[in-house]
């Protein structure tokens, strides 16, 4: 008989006798969850990426202050990249004796390549989606221009020398960025009309973009080709460059997805390891018999490996199928929150789910299985002759490698992978040590306890190795659940705090000193809350420690971008909200020759405390020393600055003021009043940007919530499975105790105490470890500050005790009513 046939037959018999139930369940849970998460993450990522591309109106954009060279367009055509371009500039519009500084945007016919424009003719609440900009001789404008210039749809609007007919009102523009032109009231025209406006003259300040879509490989090749050709004013944009706020939210969400996958795989892996161990122990006799009947060690391993491959393959297939349904269900549940078109899953994700199943099986199930190779045929004569355990290195090495591979896959950071694995190993050995000490030191005092407590605790202390391994398994599962829960909570809280309901949706810049108080009063008169008024002086960083800055900074870096243009410099007596001093000290006196610099810029410029910076302000130069480095929360939608000076430092220079405020939806007309009173003030409307951002965050929030429920459900199921897989010995022992006259209530009490103590200790350890991991995670991965959660400190050990205790109790309860004879016979 071929080995395959024999393996199939053995597998069938095991399956029929119920031996494989827990193992198969654990595998199915593992594969279902990792497939569902992989598919869900992949589709969500693609969808979000696509949405992010919508915000650029393309997959890749080159932003430039000079027109894009013809050769670049040619290269893009060679690479079959679809193209469009935009040209943006400011221009003063004059109609009906009113003036308005508008942001003009001339777009080519294929604009937008990604996403869509939303426009309306009358009913603004029900706009139409279009994939095309205005036709020639047409102008599409933002609604507020109508009231500011007393115009109506169908009227003529003159841009430069070209009269254009207003045909539609723009309510949504996908690539409306945060720069000056796009925040001014928008007028969109066709690129073909640009020349006849005669607005663009040599020396005009113009912002060009070239937009491209195409397949990823060609885009990457194009990017590589173009990078060395960029001059300092040109940049390549993708989602991460263009939207740092969105980028950080998205990458945090991606990391959370990755973390959830690792967590579910880890939890399931533990269940599989425990289930296989039980499987192995229950197969010692069968294996001894096979060996007795002449089966070689290698054949035994082949037989079991074949069975596991067949089992793993079928469970993984089933898991993939269930995982597919689970993520479909997830998308169905989220359909109101997610964009209407969801990217379809790549077959790779399905394959990933399957591969994960097999890898977990090999990593976690192989070590206990290999133990079977060592079963001695003598066991047939002496039942208590257990096989020698496989080498510890092999057992833990395999499982660790699997976890390491997964961590590496998700974080793409080798150093971090080693940190996690090293930290995990260190934590596990410390934990094992603590538990061992706890067991050894407490066992002497058991004598004074009542019989239930004594038996419960003694049963833990008699098998320290088993107790430690069970506590480690429960601890890891609990840690995984706590991590999933805490990270999700803090991530959501952090997002919520960044963007409260009344997050500022307008910026006002260029407020002259004389206008400051009247401006503030006008806002207050309308009960509109504004942030601080920051004085702003325009200046440029030119030297660091006497060396020209352009010789120091590297191309395409934050430092390069910050030093190639005039910066808004401000002064303040105290650090603004959301700013934290991370190095050095804030100044005590307001007239020191010092400056505070933002952390990322400091890193990019490679400067530290005490370095001398030279600024050019107007025609004068000023040298100051860095007194402190600040971390800045850029996601607050409040004014933020790279450089802050003590107030007296900038007094000598011309200053304007800058503020931000929240304007409720019904008060848009107030903007016109503001412009009327303060014609010199520039108002920037960031509401659209804010709404896009809020929408994405709410979608991510919902997705992350579901992932958490998934991880928790997997955790609870597996915890049950894990408890069940340790029950054999306990059921046997309790049957024997009942034979000798122990009452069921006593047995139940012993079990309850034993499991509750196991759970309680696991909960305590899990808490300590998760706090440690969380503080590392937040610093390294999410860039957030970690705070201790007192509720967690209180609840985790209790929940651990309660849950594991209950699982154990329920597990053993069903055999309590069976006569002891039948249990002793069956085991």
């Amino acid at each position: 008989m071929s080995e395959l046939k024999l393996a199939l037959r053995l597998l069938y018999r095991d399956g029929r006798s119920g031996e494989l139930t827990i193992l198969v369940l654990a595998l199915i849970i593992a594969v279902t969850s990792s497939t569902a998460i992989a598919l869900f993450a992949d589709r969500l990522q693609q969808t979000m990426g696509r949405q992010a591309a919508d915000f650029l109106a393309a997959d890749m954009v080159i932003s430039s202050s000079s027109s894009i060279p013809e050769s670049w367009w040619k290269k893009a055509s060679e690479l079959q990249l679809k193209q469009s371009s935009t040209t943006e500039f400011s221009s003063v519009l004059m109609e009906n004796e009113s003036l308005l500084l508008a942001g003009i945007k001339a777009v080519t016919d294929h604009y937008p390549l990604r996403g869509h424009l939303k426009t309306a003719t009358s009913d603004l609440s029900n706009p139409e989606q279009t994939k095309k900009g205005p036709a020639t001789l047409e102008a599409w404008i933002e609604p507020r221009i109508l009231s500011a210039l007393k115009l109506q749809i169908g009227d003529t609007l003159r841009v430069g020398e070209q009269p254009l007919k207003i045909t539609r009102l723009i309510t949504y523009e996908p690539d409306k960025g945060g720069d000056l032109y796009s925040l001014q009231p928008r007028v969109m025209i066709n690129h073909a009309d640009l020349e006849s406006t005669h607005v663009i003259q040599p020396g005009s300040h113009i912002h060009y973009t070239a937009q491209f879509v195409g397949n990823e490989r060609n885009l990457v090749e194009f990017k590589r080709w173009i990078k060395p050709k960029l001059n300092p004013s040109q940049r390549i944009l993708d989602i991460y460059d263009e939207r740092p706020r969105l980028g950080s939210a998205l990458s945090r969400a991606e990391r959370y997805l990755g973390l959830s996958s690792i967590i579910v795989v880890l939890i399931a892996g533990i269940a599989i390891a425990m289930a296989t161990r039980r499987y192995g122990e229950r197969h010692f006799n069968a294996t001894a018999l096979l060996r007795c009947l002449g089966c070689k060690q290698s054949k035994i391993i082949r037989l079991y490996a074949l069975q596991f491959l067949i089992l793993g393959g079928s469970a993984s297939l089933l898991g993939c199928l269930l995982g597919w349904f689970a993520q479909e269900g997830l998308f169905q549940l989220l359909r109101d929150l997610l964009p209407t078109s969801i990217a379809s899953a790549s077959p790779f994700s399905l394959l990933f789910g399957f591969a994960t199943g097999m890898v977990i099986l090999v990593g976690f199930a192989m070590p206990p299985l290999l133990q079977l190779k060592r079963v001695s045929p003598l066991r047939l004569l002496r039942h208590d002759l257990d096989p020698l355990p496989s080498s510890g290195w092999l057992i833990y090495g395999l499982a660790l490698s699997v976890i390491g591979l997964l961590v590496w896959y998700y974080t793409d950071d080798l150093r971090m992978t080693f940190t996690v694995i090293g930290g995990g190993l260190f934590a596990a050995s410390i934990m094992a040590g603590i538990v061992w000490l706890l067991i050894k030191s407490s066992s002497k005092s058991f004598g004074r306890l009542d019989i239930g407590w004594r038996f419960g605790l003694q049963s833990l202390s008699r098998h320290p190795a088993k107790t430690i391994s069970q506590i480690l398994a429960f601890t890891v599962t609990l840690v995984a659940m706590i991590l999933s829960f805490s990270v999700r909570n803090d991530l959501l809280d952090d997002w919520k705090a960044q963007l409260p309901e009344s997050a500022p949706n307008h910026f006002a810049i260029n407020i002259f000193a004389n206008d400051r108080t009247p401006f503030q009063k006008l806002l207050e008169g309308q009960q509109i809350q504004s942030s601080r008024f920051f004085p702003v002086t325009r200046g440029r960083l030119v030297e660091i420690n006497g060396i020209k800055v352009r010789k120091i900074v590297s191309k395409e870096s934050t430092g390069a971008r910050a030093t190639q243009r005039q910066l808004s410099l401000t002064s303040s007596t105290t650090p603004p909200d959301g700013n934290q001093i991370i190095e050095g000290n804030w100044w005590k006196s307001d007239n020191e020759a010092v400056v505070s610099i933002e952390q990322k810029l400091a890193q990019s410029l490679k400067v530290s405390i005490g370095d001398k910076l030279t600024f050019t302000i107007g025609s004068e130069q000023m040298q100051v020393a860095i007194s402190n480095i600040r971390s800045v929360n850029w996601d607050t939608m409040k004014p933020n600055f790279y450089f802050i000076f003590p107030p007296s430092a900038l007094d000598a220079f011309p200053q304007t003021y800058l503020t931000s405020f929240y304007l409720p939806p019904g008060k848009k007309d107030f903007l016109n009043k503001l412009i009327e009173h303060f014609p010199a003030v520039t108002l920037l409307d960031v509401e659209t940007l804010l709404n896009q951002f809020k929408m994405i965050l709410s979608q991510l929030t919902a997705a992350i919530n579901y992932l958490l429920y998934f991880a928790l459900a997997a955790g609870f199921t597996v915890l049950f499975a894990a408890v069940y897989s340790t029950l054999d010995d306990r059921i046997h022992n309790s049957a024997l105790m009942r034979t000798l006259g122990a009452k069921r209530s006593l047995i139940k009490k012993v079990q309850l105490i034993e499991f509750t103590v196991l759970g309680f200790i696991s909960g305590l350890l899990a808490l300590a470890i998760s706090e440690l991991i969380l503080s590392l995670l937040y610093n390294q991965l999410f860039g957030m500050a970690h705070q201790l959660n007192l509720l967690l400190w209180f609840l985790t050990p209790l929940a651990g005790g309660l849950f594991v205790g209950l699982a154990g109790y329920v597990g053993i309860r069903h055999v309590m009513d069976l006569p002891p004879a039948s249990i002793l016979r069956n085991l």
Binding site: R382, H383, D384, I451, S459, R462, H463, D729, N733, L736, M737, R738, T739, L740, G741, A742, K743, R744, S745, L746, M816, D817, P819, P820, A821, S822, L824, R825
Partner: protein, 233 residues
């Protein structure tokens, strides 16, 4: 120490009437035991014999209140078992019954001493350790008291099991193939010890075996075939 309720009286210790046991399997109901009537008097020694699968162990577990019959009834020390719930039967087992199993059935995590102490601890005996120690000395294991079953040979494990069975001074002792897992020499020593202790403690003994010489040591023998009693002597 605990003594059985009726150790000194002449009333039968076990009275089994029309005892039967059926189990359901995937191929239908299987009758393991049918219509067994049996009376066992104080200080009786009874061997239950029969081939493998004849129902010996099933009969023993029914008589010892380890299992419930499908038909018929068992009274132990005049107490009908059907009137007791599982906890009541556990209490009865603890106070009046001792067990010796073929596979020893010692708790693997406990030392020899702790295994012997266990039945006394279950009924709250404060002197459990002393009594267990004395009995372990009696079975010749005074120097092995702190060894776990894994560190003991089969013969030694069965001695511990004997000590555990006698430590509560039960009214009746059930032994299921007590020498089945032992070599003949060790088996003989165990049998010798079992009968010695039995005489000393005046315990009623019910022994399941297919070993003719062992059965011959008992006063009475019943023989089972396919679940029914075919011969009593």
């Amino acid at each position: 120490m605990h003594s059985s309720p009726d150790k000194q009286s002449n009333a039968p210790i076990i009275e089994a009437i029309n005892l039967g046991k059926k189990v359901s399997t995937s191929e239908g109901t299987l009758e393991i035991l049918s219509s067994v009537d049996l009376i066992i008097n104080p200080a009786d020694t009874l061997a239950i014999m029969g081939t493998s699968g004849s129902g010996k162990s099933t009969l023993l577990s029914l008589l010892a209140a380890l299992d419930e019959p499908t038909t018929g009834s068992v009274s132990l020390f005049g107490q009908p078992l059907a009137q007791l719930d599982e906890d009541g039967r556990a209490e009865l087992r603890n106070q009046s019954i001792g067990f010796v199993f073929q596979s020893f059935q010692l708790l693997p995590g406990l030392t020899a001493l702790e295994n012997v102490m266990l039945p006394l601890e279950l009924c709250g005996d404060k002197n459990a350790a002393d009594a267990a120690q004395a009995l372990l000395e009696r079975v010749g294991l005074s120097n092995r008291t702190h060894h776990t079953p894994r560190q003991l040979s089969g013969g030694e494990q069965q001695r511990v099991a004997l000590a555990r069975a006698f430590v509560t001074e039960p009214g009746i002792l059930f032994a299921d193939e007590p020498t089945g897992n032992l070599d003949s020499k060790t088996g003989e020593q165990i049998v010798e010890l079992l009968f010695e202790l039995n005489r000393e403690k005046q315990t009623t003994l019910v022994l399941v075996t297919h070993d003719e010489p062992l059965a011959a040591l008992c006063q009475r023998t019943i023989r089972l075939e396919a679940g029914t009693v075919v011969c009593q002597s």
